[in-house]
Amino acid sequence: MKKLLAFLMTLALLAGMAVLPASAEENVYTALYSSEVSTLNYLTSSTTWDYTPGANVVDTLIEYNNIGEIIPGLAETWEVSEDQLTWTFHLRQGQKWYDYTGAEVGEVTANDFVAAAKYVLTPEYDSSLEYMFEEANILNAAAYYAGEVTDFAEVGVKAVDDYTLQYIVDKPTPYLLSCMTYGSFMPAYGPQLEELGADFATACEKMYCCGAFILTEFEPQVKHVFVKNVNNWDAENVHIDRIEQIYNAEAATLAPTMALRGEVDYADLSNDIIDDWKANNPDIISRGRAIPDFSYFFCFNFDPQYEAEYGPDNWRIAVNNSNFRHSIMSAFDRTYSMRALEPDDPESILQNTITPATFCAADGVDFSELAPFEGTEENFFNAEKALEYKAKAMEELTAAGCTFPVTILLTYKSGDTDWENESILFKQQLEGVLGTDYINVELYAGPSESFLSATRRAGVYSMMRCNWGADYADPLTWASPFAESIDSETGLHEGNSYNKMDVSLDGDAYPETKDILTAYYATVEEAKNITDDTTARYTKFAEAEAMLINNAMVIPYNIEAASYQVTKLNIFEGQYSPCGVSNLRYKYQTLHEDFISAEEYEAAYQEWLTAMGK
């Protein structure tokens, strides 16, 4: 025992004396990550984290700069035909594929895009990105996937020659370019795909790189190492020589301390510890960018399917009453509950439209500021109005046979601390305004695994904070959660997977709701068919979306809060886009000696806002 202790002490002393080696190479960026990617295969996976390696090692046809403008990538130029059905891309010549050791393998040609598309559309490889080809309206893509078309030559992805690539769509698709930064439209070295099939990209030895970095090491749940690809066409814009991502399941707890000790160059600061950091290390706190690629909104469930003890039938009557919905919407102080997500400046992420602000613009006018949205702000928090609505709703609902208080089952995901806290604040605030004689908010913790199928899709909620992510840069993508869903056998509505409002279209039980929905769906259809005039198209979509807000069918809420962090990167230099993988790229970002100070951050932020024209 004594000997052992002595041994340990000696070891300790030795380690104490040894000077820790400073990182030998310059420009090494080290960060922790807490959950491993499930695959490197950027052609099949669809989760943001899985994209990260692919986004950094494979280039896309087009890219976004740091203020969200489309710039050339692997394609130097492109044009669209008169009829808007054929998109032609002219590829950059002399781009090469490299294996994980950095050895050159072959040239990047148009055929690599065709091979990748074929891979995505082959059911055997079970790609979860196939839907992007359907969203982009690529000719015969869905038919090939379904087996109705067997010759891939009939699909609208063609290599005219080695450096000319064509995408043919079956109807005008104004947003096609924005689809091109998705994994599904990335190239992959044809012969390798052919050879490996389902084994493609199961390890870093089994994929080739043509992007800003080369993935030289991939040890799952140990580390990822990216090394700058010096031969890349855009190498001068890559300022980091080496990226080391180290796995640690407790990264959320350990990373901040490790950053202070100088062991890592980046750490996320969760909302629980941010107060402490502000008190003790205020100089090195910076924030991420709030990106409008995900939008959060509160849904009212029109087809409740939960246990009788929470009164689903009572809720069904209440939710179909416009005054009731308005009373909730007016009583709901969104910035209060949002403090669980964004403690300091909830206004910065608050959204008054489902389509987030700065997502897209028509003729310089932001979508969220188009004419149809004028006056929608009247619907938001106003305690006095809420009580007026409450009085009217109580009268009408009592007549309709509704009993008070109405139970509102507020569903959230157990284990998600921020969401849990938000729900607690929501309940307290809403009941405070409307009174517990009127409503009773019940918090319902859904399971942490397979959460959506157990709750939202099963209809186990009265109100819930839902979210949707953009697939491409067009307002159509934000209408998807509300698209009608019709049972092919009965011909009846089975409830769109979000708020199930379309069930009120069947039968005549709720004429008021039915009218709103009929008008809404008609407007969306009209908007979809306007393909030649961006302003008209966007205005029509705005008109439809405004209907949902003005009738209190959906309550717009926020976009993902920009997390607090300590970092040595200036994130405002990074690529910025509301869809695709661009935001995940390290390209353009410079690595600083020290952590970005609060001042530097603020200056960079203001500069960026100015550049964005805000």
């Binding site: 959320a252 707890t253 350990l254 901040p256 301390t257 969760s270 909302n271 629980d272 510890i273 107060d275 402490d276 950091w277 008190a279 003790n280 209060y336 403090r339 669980a340 403690p343 157990s414 284990g415 601390t417 849990e420 806290n421 729900s423 607690i424 604040l425 307290q428 918090l443 319902y444 913790a445 859904g446 399971p447 942490s448 695994e449 397979s450 157990a454």
Partner: protein, 333 residues
């Protein structure tokens, strides 16, 4: 306890007086009384009571008695605390003057143990959580003990069942409880009942194996072989020969399984399958605190629940040890 008559003495008195008081016909009075084995045994009973002696020995251990009292007080206090004047509700977020939540406030006169990261009173949450956790611990320990002892004794003693039970044990013990926990979380909604059910579903297996091995060690000792030879029934051997022998280890194990269950609740919360934060428990509080541990000024949120958990664990450990010492008949003389 001392006021109560020993049951054997009582039974003997009753049967005698019944015999005497009965109005029997002449014929019956002069017939042979049947031989009653049980009553014959009773006449030989001494005044020694195992349990009374055990309690007596236990009550001499001052530390254990103090901790027992402390536990009772804690349990009682978890119920009384919300009724005391000037207490905050464990679920209500306190708003400051600006109408915003008072979050992460250090312990003060207002909030005795400070507030958590959304502004709920930690003092109130601590007691609410202690109540929940103690309930979970007690419930699990009881279920574990009842099912475990029953199964363990049958498994260890009845050789015919050994094959079947070993097989069942091997199967159940090797189905990872994570799978069962997650499946249950799909079927039932997260809550106290669910967590007790999920933990008990597999919790008794360890106890059963423990008892079985103990039984196996003493099953074929000479006094048991002798008992069997004399024709004592299996049930009687189990209850009179085997279990009293094991009382001390069973008690220790049971006492430890209460904090054990609370501990596994901490673990279940750690892997993300615990109670929702709307139901405070020590597991919840510790895991919330754990995330803040690296920030010294917020560490109070971790320290207090850990202290309570430690007190509970120490108390049960000491009480269990003292009781198992007291339960040893050799210390009764």
């Amino acid at each position: 306890m001392a006021l109560l008559k020993h049951p054997k003495v009582e039974a003997l008195e009753n049967s005698l007086s019944a015999q005497l008081k009965r109005d029997l016909s002449e014929k019956e009075l002069f017939s042979f009384a049947p031989f009653d084995e049980e009553e014959a045994e009773l006449t030989g009973a001494s005044n020694y009571s195992y349990w009374r002696s055990t309690l007596h020995a236990f009550s001499k251990n001052r530390v254990a008695m103090f901790l027992l009292a402390l536990m009772l007080i804690i349990v009682l206090f978890t119920f009384i605390q919300p009724l005391l004047p000037g207490q905050y509700d464990a679920f209500v977020v306190t708003n400051g003057d600006n109408g915003l939540p008072l979050k992460n406030k250090q312990p003060s006169a207002e909030h005795w143990l400070g507030t958590n990261s959304i502004g709920q009173d930690l003092w109130a949450r601590l007691w609410s959580g202690t109540r929940t956790s103690l309930f979970i611990g007690l419930a699990c320990a009881m279920i574990e003990a009842c099912v475990g002892i029953l199964m363990g004794v049958l498994w260890g003693y009845v050789r015919k069942l050994d094959f079947l039970f070993t097989e069942i044990y091997n199967v159940l013990d090797n189905i990872p409880s994570t799978i069962i926990l997650i499946l249950i979380s799909f079927i039932l909604k997260p809550g106290v009942g669910t967590i007790i059910f999920a933990m008990s579903l597999t919790g008794w297996i360890g106890m059963a194996r423990f008892i079985r091995n103990q039984i196996l060690i003493i099953r074929d000792r000479d006094y048991n072989v002798a008992s069997r030879c004399l024709g004592t029934s299996t049930w009687r051997i189990i209850v009179k020969n085997l279990l009293p022998y094991l009382v001390s280890v069973i008690m220790l194990r049971m006492a430890l399984s209460i904090p054990g269950a609370i501990g596994s609740e901490v673990f279940i919360t750690y892997i993300g399958l615990g109670l929702p934060a709307t139901v405070p428990s020590l597991g919840n509080l510790i895991n919330e605190g754990r995330k803040l541990m690296m920030s010294p000024s917020l560490r109070y949120q971790l320290i207090y629940p850990t202290i309570i958990l430690s007190i509970v664990t120490i108390s049960f450990y000491m009480i269990g040890n003292a009781f198992s010492d007291a339960a040893d008949p050799k210390s009764h003389v």
